[in-house]
């Protein structure tokens, strides 16, 4: 087995992307994501890849679009305000049915906000990463090993379904170090892209990559076809981790950094004899609706914990659909909730059920 190394989240994401066959990175610096771009700047030229610091986020995402259209694995990374600038390009990527990996190391917002960890881009990532009718795949790692694994999955599923994929994390996960085992480099097979607009010496009719449809009927039909694909993804690609949910009265729903805090709180609650558990979404889109609904009978209440004013809680409420109470607790602006704060919420809910 490969050696366990200590790596920062941001650097592990970069190394994993390289291992997954990505040789084209386009970015623009922003805290707390910068180590990712810096790692790429150092490594890509040595392995025949392209690292390009664009003149703006807008330029970077359009370079990703161009590279992906030409048939290569391409990616970009940024943090919240930078992702907002990239949303136009992400919508075009979706409209062109192009895969691409986008990493958002979230910080507090809105506006320039702050630079400390946050989860307040959930709505943006899962509901509207740009204008128009579309979804992107959204993954939410909670450990550095999982970041590495999800980079591979995000590239592979992006290719499989021809759509952009996002890895949504936050400044805490980006900055922290944990042991990680990297997969062997050079083992990845990047799938063929027969749709790519690359050179082919007139061997086939030329491919067109476009998102402009002036005929409303044609645009409607294209969107309907795309949403059939989304339905299939919702049926097959939901992922989550369950912790002590079988007998849990109170089920926490939390992802990423806040799920780590909740892991401590669940352990503390169990130590007091409170039957607490957790569902940790690994895919935020598709949201793990099936697992939440599976636990509707046994659970007495749900508690969503986020580093935001309450965004994912909407999806939890939709999944629960009024069957059980859904509570919310969050800290925002760059504050990480503490395990005792979450435990207090669990105790409050436990007193009322």
């Amino acid at each position: 087995m490969a050696e366990k190394v200590l790596m920062k989240g941001n650097e592990a994401l970069a190394e994993a992307a390289i291992c997954a066959g990505c040789r084209h990175f386009f970015g623009y610096p922003i805290t707390p994501q910068t180590e990712l771009a810096a790692y790429m700047a150092k490594k890509m030229p040595k392995i025949g890849g392209t690292y390009l610091q664009a003149e703006s986020e807008l330029a970077a995402i359009n370079m990703v679009l161009g590279a992906s259209a030409a048939g290569v694995r391409a990616m970009t990374s940024s943090s919240s305000p930078g992702i907002s600038l990239k949303t136009e390009g992400i919508s075009y990527l979706a409209g062109c049915d192009l895969p691409a990996l986008i990493i958002n190391v979230q910080r507090g917002g809105p506006g320039l906000g702050g630079i400390q960890p946050s989860q307040s881009d959930y709505w943006q990532a899962t509901k509207a990463t740009g204008h128009g009718d579309f979804q992107i795949l959204v993954f939410a790692p909670s450990t550095i090993q999982e970041m590495v694994d999800l980079v591979f999955l995000a590239f592979d599923l992006g290719d499989k379904y021809r759509m952009p994929a996002m890895i949504l994390l936050d400044g805490m996960l980006g900055q922290m170090m944990e042991p990680v085992v990297l997969p062997e480099a050079g083992k990845t097979v990047v799938p063929d892209r027969p749709w790519a607009a690359d050179g082919h010496k007139n061997k086939r009719p030329h491919n067109i990559i476009n998102s402009l449809y002036l005929d409303p009927l044609k645009l409607e039909q294209t969107n309907i076809e795309r949403f059939k694909r989304y339905e299939k993804i919702k049926g097959t690609e939901q992922r989550c981790e369950e912790l002590h949910t079988e007998d849990a009265d109170i089920i926490i729903v939390a992802y990423g950094a806040s799920s780590r805090v909740c892991r401590n709180a669940v352990a503390a609650a169990r130590a007091q004899g409170i039957k607490a558990g957790m569902i940790r979404p690994i895919t935020l889109w598709p949201f793990p609706v099936d697992t939440i609904q599976k636990r509707l009978v046994s659970a007495k209440a749900f508690l969503t914990v986020e580093m935001s004013m309450g965004q994912m809680v909407d999806d939890v409420r939709l999944a629960v659909n009024g069957a059980k109470p859904v509570h919310f607790f969050g800290r925002t602006g760059g504050i990480i909730p503490s395990p005792p704060e979450v435990l207090e919420q669990i105790e409050l809910i436990n007193g009322g059920i």
């Binding site: 200590l6 630079i115 400390q116 805490m172 170090m177 780590r260 805090v261 395990p339």
Partner: protein, 179 residues
Amino acid sequence: MRPDLNLLLAGFGGQGLLFGGKVVAYCGLIENREISWLPSYGPEMRGGTANCSVCISDEPIGSPLVLSPNALIVMNLPSLEKFIDTVEAGGSVFIDSSMISKRVDRKDINVFYIPATKLAEENDLKGLANMVLVGKLCKELGFCSKETLFAAMEKSVPPSKAELLEKNKKALQIGIDYL
């Protein structure tokens, strides 16, 4: 099961606290335990207060942010004042007494005063007070063997800075030997 280490290292940016934390984290990695290392980041890295959380455990680590440390290494007064009350009862505090003249009032914790900056300078190891404190931490808490600590140092110093390895090891030894 071995006890958890929830360590906070705090001081000015540039005192090497993040690096000190990395060496401690590597000790856990070498002994195949669960570990996390989390730095503060942002403007405080440019000369203000910097701190770093390190967790070592036999269980998967939840929040990597250490709010109630059972060990604190502290290298400036603002950090001592900020964090001293957060230390768990029974915990240990390692103070660079050449940087901080204040004494700690709390009676429910173990406090070690080490003139780390002075010791480093006297031994031609300027800037390695961090390692003197890490050496003392390891000796007093025994969370890993001396061999592991030195091996962790070897993993933490990049090959391009190999000339610093011996100096760092010497600083660790001074901390281990300090009574």
